[in-house]
Symmetry: C2
Subunit: 341 residues, 2 copies
């Protein structure tokens, strides 16, 4: 199984990215990784005696999209950038998946540009794994589609629940619709329309209705469906609150302790790494014909290793085949003009 | 200064609500509170020898809106409910402000129904005070208007910054627009249009552009403008993350400590009460001709006392006059067809 890794994407690329690839191939004997980037910089980072060294390949390209660059402009002005090269390898079926910790907007734009979507998917969405009191859940979409249509939100529910079942191992994942209150009549027209689509679909037994912001961490639903604007803001708000509370605790809690100060500091440190909203292994862009995993810009070697492992798991579980099949069985109105049964 | 307090609104009403009123009149010799609710239940809760007892009045009504009731249905089916009575007292100018910890949707619906908006305000918005690493900031709107127009978001920026200046004591409050990225071209059409309105307005020197979810707690802007859908979800997400982390810390941190366990528990307890997202003194519905403060349903006596104090401060600072004046000076296109200079 060959997966392309954007070696140039990420706040500290290429060092931790390449290190993550080395660890991933050592851990999974079926995995081959194509390091896409400036070969002169990337190749020396792979130890010649690394386990699985023969399963690491190089695809040279001369450009990279900066983390802060405008995605559309960058993709146009830099035709030989590592993100576009990853997507092209996927389109040419030279790899089954791609992973990048680079510019998220450019990753999504690259995918939308190629338009290699799964059958019955009208727009891909990014799924993010969220920690909850009941274990991980998935929120979809967190930024690929800021102005979705109701049927696209419905498709996110279908795709997210397949991800929750096969990657998060939730038996019968429940689906909630992010809204401003639990009543059916709450929220925008989009929310009401999406609510009706779920209620009229084969998924209705697992649809728990509207959920609110505070329900995410309570684990009220295994899959939380929202538009990409709301999902992106929520994801980053969670990061912000977490960061804020950790700072306050470091200052106020640790300052008040003496004998057990180091112990408490260790617990906070452990929490920070465990509950980092990016540590699970990246966020998949679901709905793509192939596997596409988007990692946080700050990803270290472990996060990259995890993302490659999730990509491999995704391929082995045949998630895309399941998505196509389930969308076939749960048609929604939209391009095809059909209404849910 | 006479303020109406919905004695029947809140998870534990009327006891803590009345207790808050008693404390508020004792603390502010200019304050008169009208307790609106079932007089037979409310009056006995006021100690006959309470300081300022002569500044507590009663307005009897026979009905109350439940916390989970559908706002519109409840207001229609229960004409003698305490929320509608509060609004009517405001409309008749018998009070200068109203405070309720009851059904938020019903409070907003009551205000929209009377339509006593300030001059130049096309829709009121709820402002919530958010803790940040740099002190409190204000997020507006958090749920009054889930599908706003750009000029309404602009007005929220104007109103929020007056609130930040006079209530949060920020000298020259900065304004940020909630979005999915910092670039100007990011986000929905609504976000882009609102961005342009701020850039073309007299507020442009204090407009810091787009802010992201993680910027709220970092205190990147003193005023964060967002639509009521996003703001409501963000506010409740903050509550959820906070609640989640407190639970995890209680379990994992406290379990690992021995000698200083009680000390750490105390710090967590203190944090919980200090950073409760509702403790500041309620969320004002800005843009109303009068003062309207909406408190969290779980408000205790202290939260109600604070909310009454904020309402009084709001009146004394002449916030509404400032809002009318500033909106006059910063016209936006909209009903009046004018474009910002």
């Amino acid at each position: 199984m060959r997966i392309a890794l954007d070696a140039m994407g990420g706040d500290h690329a290429p060092e931790p990215i390449v290190a993550g690839a080395v660890q991933a191939v050592a851990a999974d004997p079926e995995l081959r990784v194509v390091l896409v980037g400036d070969q002169a910089r990337v190749e020396p980072l792979v130890p010649v005696d690394a386990a699985g060294r023969d399963r690491i390949e190089f695809f040279h390209c001369s450009q990279a999209v900066g983390m802060e660059e405008s995605p559309v402009v960058a993709l146009r002005k830099k035709p030989d950038n590592s993100i576009s090269r990853c997507w092209q390898l996927l389109a040419q079926q030279k790899v089954v998946g791609i992973v990048s910790a680079g510019n998220t907007g450019a990753m999504v734009a690259g995918g939308l540009f190629l338009k290699r979507f799964l059958k019955n998917v009208s727009r891909p969405g990014i799924a993010a794994v969220m920690p909850t009191i009941k274990g991980p859940s998935v929120m979809i979409d967190v930024g690929a589609n800021v102005s979705p249509k109701a049927e696209q939100l419905f498709q996110y529910g279908v795709m997210g629940s397949i991800f929750a079942r096969h990657i998060l191992k939730r038996d019968r994942p429940t689906i909630g619709l992010m809204n401003v209150g639990s009543e059916e009549a709450k929220g925008t027209d989009l929310a009401k329309e999406t609510h009706a689509l779920f209620e009229a679909s084969p998924l209705k037994d697992r649809f728990v209705g509207n959920v609110e912001g505070r329900d995410i961490q309570r684990g009220v639903a295994d899959v939380v469906v929202c538009d990409g604007f709301v999902g992106n803001v929520v994801l980053k708000t969670c990061e912000g609150v977490f960061e804020f509370l950790m700072k306050v605790l470091q200052k106020e809690l640790l300052a008040g302790l003496q004998a057990e100060r180091d112990k408490a500091a260790q617990v906070l440190q452990g929490l920070a790494s465990r509950y980092e909203y990016s540590s699970y292994g990246g966020a998949p862009l679901l709905g793509i014909d192939g596997v596409c995993i988007i990692c946080h810009g700050s990803s270290g070697d472990l996060a990259i290793k995890n993302a490659l492992a999730v990509a491999a798991e995704y391929v082995r579980a045949g998630l895309n085949e399941l998505i196509v099949k389930e969308l076939e069985a749960a048609p929604v109105r939209g391009e095809r003009g059909a209404l849910a049964p």
